[in-house]
Every structure is written in C-alpha cells, then in structure tokens.
Amino acid sequence: MKKNIGRIVLSLIAVVFLCAGVIQGDLHTTWLKAIRICLECIGIG
C-alpha cells in the first residue's frame, strides 16, 4: 500500500517536472546542445 502511494506520488512529481521542463524550454535547450558535436564527449574540448 505504502509502495503504491509512493509510486503514485513519484509519478505525479515526474509528470509535473516534465511539464515544467517543457514550459521552461528544456526540450529546446536539450535539442540545441544535442545537435552540436559535444567536443568534451568525444575527447576534443
């Protein structure tokens, strides 16, 4: 029972966070970063 309540609460938090992130423009920020070669990731920068 407690586990299920915890799952529901966490799901709600996750959904709220996702929505807040989308409203904040995080999707666009992620996209902007991901479409450029990450020089740190590949060991150049």
């Binding site: 586990k3 996702l18 904040q24 920020t29 996209w31 070669i37 740190e40 990731c41 590949i42 150049i44």
Partner: protein, 295 residues
C-alpha cells in the same frame, strides 16, 4: 525453427534498442551528427548524443548540461525523465535497453579467463555512486556556480560510450577533428581500452563499478513498476539465483540487479517471475522434471 530462448529474445531487444537509438546510419558515413527534432528527447540508456547515428539525447549528458545551467534554471525536464524511467523500468533499462551494456555482454563472451564476483567487486560496486555524485552532479554544479563555465565532467573525462560511439567514429571520418585530437582524446581512448578490456574478463565491469546512470536507476530498485520479483511464498532461500547471477546482487531485484531474468531458469521452485506480466510457461528445466516424474 523452434521458439527463441529468453536470452536470445533479450539479446534481440538489446540489439533493436541499440539500432533504434542510432537509427541515423548515414551519419557514420558523413561524419556528422543528426540534427532533427528528436534530439530534444532522451533515450533511457547510455548512448552518446555525439554518436553520428544517435537520433536522441543521452540522459547523463543532458543532466550534466542542465546542471551547468543550474544557477538560472532548475533541471526539471531531465529529472522528470529520470524519475519516470526509473519508476517504470528501473534497471530493466540496463538489462534490456542499453547499447553499452550489450557491447560489454558481447565482449564477455570472448573465451578468456573470467573474474567472478567476490567481496572486492561488491565493494567496487559502490564506486559508481561516488562517480555519479562527483562527476555528474558536483563538478558541473561547482563550475556552474563559480566560473559559469560548462563542464560535463563525466562525459569529458570518463564516458566510454562517448569515446566509442562519438569520439572514434567522428575522428576517423572527420579530418578537422582528427587534427584537433590531443591529450584528452588519448586519455579517453585509454579509459575506453581499459573498460573494454576489463569487460572481457569481468561481466559488465562498467555497469557494475562506474556507470552513474545505472547508479541512478538502482535507486528505484525496490519500487520500479516493471521488472523481476521473487514470490516469497515459493522462495526457499536456497541462494541458487544469487550464485548463478553474474552481477553483485545480494537478492534478486536489489539495486545491483539488472533485471535480465536469467535467474528465472535456475530457480527450482518457480519463485522468480516478472512483475505485472501474465505468468509464462514454466522454465524449461521444470517442465523436463515434471515429465520425468510423470513417467
């Protein structure tokens, strides 16, 4: 052709996810990365977004970059994604949906002496939490608050997926990047060689000791909605499942369990099953035992 065995099915799912994450195959030939809208979304497994084939973003890279922006922005999106992924799938992602996990499993098949799990590997399994806190959270935040200079420390200094999928592929295909490769590239290649080498001797060495993404998902081990579970009414605590498992588990389904399901076949009491999934037919060895008893 008979029914596919469960390990084969799992390999196919792993392969399919690796191909889906890296569906931009023409990027490998061009030496350039995908720039479509899907790159705003994250995949659940470790897959560098600078891989020429990658069609979406890496969750660890996204988290570090979001923390780099921390003073002005709370990382809602990536945290929401990680919570949702962890809550629904947990380390099922490690066992089924991670390309780098697949690579390590294939390397482990090379016929070389194997180092089995022991007290040292169990202690080393805590290292991934330290790496996660230090390289994924603390260092990016520290640099964000002090210098404003973005530093995705795990991606820059450790991540072997970035080196293998992004670094080597782009440097080989791109003369300008090749000329820019210096000490950092050499360091990352060395780390990659070490990790790939160790994976030949130690099952999933990166996953067990170094992967911060696995560390994050392991936090959801007890509450993830899907995954493997033990029926306590049937379990006799014989320990066969733990002995059979190649990961550093204490019990099936704990934080070190990658939910691969291979323990199901060794349980003589049919006590291990998938959560919320209709019970499949009994594992092969139990069916054979029943046939023998009926004779």
């Amino acid at each position: 052709m008979g029914r596919l065995s469960f390990p084969t099915k799992r390999k196919l799912i792993q392969l399919a996810s690796a191909l889906i994450y890296n569906a931009n195959l023409k990027g490998f030939g061009k030496g350039s990365i995908y720039q479509g809208k899907a790159k705003g979304l994250c995949v659940p497994g470790l897959n560098c977004y600078s891989c020429p084939g990658a069609i979406a973003a890496c969750p660890l890279g996204t988290l570090q970059n979001a923390l780099n922006n921390a003073p002005s922005r709370f990382p809602f999106y990536i945290l929401g994604f990680l919570i949702l992924a962890g809550l629904f799938l947990g380390r099922l992602i490690c066992g089924f949906l991670c390309p780098f996990g697949l690579i390590q499993e294939l390397l482990h098949k090379i016929p070389l002496p194997k180092i089995k799990k022991n007290k040292i590997t169990h202690i080393l399994s805590y290292l991934k939490y330290i790496i996660g806190v230090l390289f994924v959270i603390y260092i990016p935040l520290y640099f964000a608050f002090t210098s404003g200079y973005p530093l995705p420390a795990f991606c820059k200094y450790i991540c072997p997926a970035g080196t293998l999928e992004g670094g080597l592929t782009l440097v080989i295909a791109n003369p300008s990047l090749r000329s820019a490769a210096g000490f950092l590239f050499s360091w990352k290649v060395l780390v990659l060689i070490f990790i790939i080498g160790s994976a030949c001797f130690i099952y999933r060495s990166f996953c067990r000791f170094l992967c911060p993404l696995g560390a994050i998902y392991s936090l959801f081990a007890k509450i993830s909605i899907f995954g493997i579970t033990v029926d306590e009414n049937k379990c006799t605590h014989c320990g066969q499942c733990v002995r059979h498992c190649l990961m550093d588990i204490k019990t099936v389904g704990d934080k070190e369990c990658i939910q691969c399901g291979s323990c199901r076949n060794v349980c003589s009491f049919d006590a291990i099953h998938w959560k919320h999934i209709r019970r499949e037919r009994k594992p092969q060895h139990l069916k054979q035992e029943r046939k023998y008893n009926e004779k």
